[in-house]
């Protein structure tokens, strides 16, 4: 086995550890309140895996590596470095000796082993990254500072997904296990992390409060925030009004653009703008009758008023994204042409369908106006080409639960695909690969040619080869109109003017609070 130094090591030493010290300027004591659009009902970092509840994972827990900044960089975190074997199957991480959990116990390789075993056993949240490549019991801890992952096969995206593998305090969780539940009910309410903040209070109906963890291995600089509160405020108007009044110091950066314009007029608020990696599109259920007809899907793709939606409804606050991958990442063929809004083309495709039409169901996400408005816009255009559609609005959990089965999943769902790790596999791969049908598939699309390339792209260690494969996959999905892609989100992070040094990354959504300085 030949070793290979992590190329990433240089990036971290200057930004984090060079300044490691607890000597924080005397003006600290700041308190930061973040108004979040969904409830923190569950704090378990291994079962919850969505954008709206990212703050608990980012602030209470650490992973071996971490994504920072935009474009996102992977920096060593609890691990100082790693090596990969020649065959790409053995990943060995060296842990930092100074990292401590919130109870003072050092972070060791045994904790890493416990964490990955727990993720695989619970099969929730980030588990789908690892189920195919890490078998239970295969991960080793030869010494307290070294952890070795033995993958079943080479796995090109392994490193990109390592930040999702958050490390829990194994002794603490084990002490709270009940009937072999891996401490699932306990960890939903408690904190067993090493992260930058320590959980002080939690109420599923209200939110949670964290106090700064002085002994965090990365140390503290500037005027860090001493207490963070992430509060659930479901109503958008309330979040906006609270920001304007200065009662909240931050909120989610994906609000309707009308609200962003209102926030910009407030002297208390700064709106930070960044290109995110959150693609919005119409997920088409390729497994249902009529929807499995490529001409019908193309007709849908030509029946969406992309320009009208982006220019008039969203006021150009987002950019057109013709394919499944965000414009800002590799893996999309140069000059990829998306479908255009042209009802004549749509009618022409419809003429080729060659089977009777039926009523199409569109299931939009209740409370998300982009999703609602895209649904009724499409419904309107479909009617003009002679296709009747019914729009139903449901909460996200209900949409999700219906998505689990091809029969209950709606024909069309206007929905986002966020970034969990930064690799085209997060989009075109997971959304259309047959191997992901059980987890995050967008369309239940199945194409052996596509799957063959996907298999190769997942084990290839040659970046250029992977680029070519993902570009081909993207082209296939586009030709088949497997789904319709509309825009890539821009992130408009509204923060109090007292706050500076927000480090947005498309994975942390500006909620990684350890970097932030705040004047009192």
């Amino acid at each position: 086995m030949t070793t290979r130094r992590a190329v990433l090591k240089g990036a971290v030493s200057s930004t984090i550890l060079g300044l490691a010290s607890w000597d924080v300027s005397a003006q600290s004591g700041a308190r930061f309140v973040y108004a979040n659009n969904s409830p923190y009902d569950n704090l378990d970092p291994h079962t919850v895996f969505d954008v709206s509840r990212a703050a608990t994972r980012l602030n209470l827990y650490d992973g071996l590596y971490r994504w920072v900044d935009n474009p996102p960089k992977l920096v060593p975190w609890l691990a100082a470095s790693h090596t990969v074997s020649e065959d790409g199957k053995v990943y060995s991480f060296k842990l930092r000796s100074e990292a401590r959990f919130h109870d003072g116990k050092p972070v060791t390789s045994a904790d890493v082993v416990y964490s990955i075993e727990r993720i695989i056993a619970l099969r929730k949240g980030p588990a789908s990254h690892y189920l195919d490549v890490i078998k239970p019991g295969s991960t080793q801890a030869p010494d307290p500072a070294t952890v070795v992952f033995n993958l079943v096969q080479p796995y090109a995206i392994f490193l990109a997904t390592v930040p999702d593998m958050l490390i829990v305090n194994s002794a603490l969780v084990k002490a709270n296990e009940q009937d072999g539940d891996w401490g699932e009910s306990w960890l939903a309410r408690n904190d067993a992390g090493s992260g930058s903040y320590v959980l002080r209070r939690h109420d599923p109906a209200v939110g949670w409060i964290g106090r700064r963890f002085n002994d965090h291995f990365a140390g503290w600089t500037g005027q860090p925030i001493d207490e963070i509160e992430f509060r659930t405020v479901l109503d958008t108007s309330t979040r906006v009004l609270g920001l304007i009044r200065g009662e909240f110091h931050g909120a989610d950066g994906y609000m309707p653009y009308d609200q962003i314009e209102r926030l910009r007029r407030s002297p208390n608020v700064q709106v930070i703008e960044q290109e995110a990696m959150r693609v919005f599109g119409l997920a088409l259920n390729n497994r249902k009758s009529l929807m499995n007809n490529v001409h019908f899907r193309r007709a849908i793709a030509h029946a969406f008023d992309y320009d009208g939606f982006i220019k008039n409804i969203l006021k150009d606050s987002v950019s057109r994204n013709p394919g499944p991958n965000p414009n800002t990442i590799w893996g999309t063929p140069a000059g990829l042409r998306g479908y255009d809004y042209d009802l004549d083309k749509a009618r022409a495709e419809l003429a080729k369908v060659g089977e009777p039409l039926r009523v199409i169901g569109i299931n939009a996400l209740a409370g998300f106006s982009d999703s609602e408005q895209a649904a009724i816009l499409l419904q309107n255009a479909l009617r003009q080409i002679g296709v009747e559609a019914v729009v139903e609005l449901s909460p996200w959990t209900v949409v999700l639960s219906r998505m689990s089965k091809p029969e209950t999943r709606a024909d069309i769902i206007p929905v986002w695909r966020s970034s969990f790790y930064i690799d085209p596999n997060n989009w075109v791969g997971e959304l259309f690969g047959t191997r992901y049908h059980d987890s995050r598939s967008f369309s239940l699309y199945s194409n052996p040619e596509f799957d063959r390339r996907l298999d190769q792209a997942l084990i290839s260690r040659d970046h250029e080869e992977r680029r070519k494969l993902y570009e081909e996959m993207t082209q296939m999905v586009m030709d088949d109109a497997a789904s319709v892609f509309i825009y890539n989100t821009r992130w408009y992070g509204p923060y109090s003017r007292k706050v500076k040094d927000i480090r947005f990354s498309p994975v942390n959504h500006g909620q990684d609070m350890r970097w932030v300085s705040m004047s009192r």
Binding site: D235, T236, S237, P256, D258, Q259, R262, D305, G308, F309, K311, N312, I313, A364, A366, S369, E372, Q373, A375, I376, L377, Q379, N380, R383, V390, V391, E392, L393
Partner: protein, 280 residues
């Protein structure tokens, strides 16, 4: 009869109610003609989103650029149809149940009223939401949800009225003369208790319009793009405080409609139901 009409026409409040309902029904029927932009029920004009009231759009435009006045007029149609059918169906179920249960004194009448009691033990809106959510949003399902939760109200009302009639002299004499129970119920009791039913039908229309609008507000009424007042108000929430006109018109429309039915109901109560009269 003439005397009753005369008394009704002297009741200014009740007349006001009629003056509201009459034009409303006409507006619902002739929405196609009256609406400045009749196609705006289904057409969008994305370049004209969220415009304040002006000569072009008297009540402003909504989030899809449709004319709010036009949608409001078609919304009257949705609302009146929904409430009318619901109240009608609830009467068709509730009145016979109440009559039968009130007239007879047996297990079945007991059982019928117990079932009605079950429905009445939680607020109507809660069961209606639950049923509407289960069935999925559509006008038909909204009607079904409202009817299923509304008939017990009528059953209880008619039951109580029937009970109080049962020992009246004219009923007892009809029974003594050998009239069949059905004959007694339909020819003697029903006409005698018609007044409170008519009075409450008018008030019930108002209440049902409010409940239906609440379903729409919560996203459980007719599906999107069907013009429905409750949903229009829900849509406007995100655009407050800038688009103040968005919720104003549908809110006032609901208010006036319900007010109209309540005033007429009040007036009817005065002339038809001496026991409930506002004053001698």
């Amino acid at each position: 009869m003439r005397e009753l009409l005369g008394r009704f026409s002297r009741d200014r409040a009740a007349l006001l109610g009629l003056c509201i309902i009459g034009p409303l029904v006409l507006a619902a029927i002739f929405a196609q003609i009256l609406a400045p932009y009749p196609n705006d029920v289904i057409d969008f004009h994305l370049e004209r989103r969220l415009l304040p009231p002006s000569a072009d759009a008297l009540l402003g435009t909504d989030r899809m650029g449709s004319d709010i006045l036009s949608r409001l007029l078609f919304g009257a149609r949705t609302t009146l149809m929904l409430a009318g059918v619901t109240v009608g169906l609830a009467l068709l179920i509730g009145v016979p149940v109440g009559l039968v249960a009130g007239y007879y004194d047996n297990r079945m009448s007991e059982a019928l009223m117990r079932i009605a009691e079950i429905f009445l033990a939680v607020p109507q809106i809660v069961l209606a939401i639950a049923i509407a959510q289960t069935l999925g949003p559509s006008i038909k399902n909204a009607i079904l949800a409202l009817t299923l939760t509304y008939w017990p109200f009528w059953a209880r009302l008619v039951y109580a009225e029937t009970r109080s009639m049962r020992n009246e002299v004219f009923v007892e004499s009809a029974v003594a003369l050998g009239a069949s129970p059905w004959r007694v119920i339909v020819l003697h009791i029903l006409p005698a208790i018609a007044s409170p039913i008519i009075v409450r039908t008018s008030i019930g229309m108002g209440a049902t319009i409010l409940t239906a609008a609440t379903l729409g507000f919560l996203g459980l009424g007719p599906p999107p793009t069907a013009p429905e007042w409750g949903r229009m108000i829900a849509e406007s929430r995100e655009h407050l405080p800038e688009a103040w006109w968005y919720a104003l018109a549908p809110g006032v429309a609901i208010f006036l409609t319900v007010l109209g039915f309540n005033l007429v109901g009040d007036g009817l109560r005065d002339i038809l139901d001496p026991r409930l009269r506002r004053g001698p």
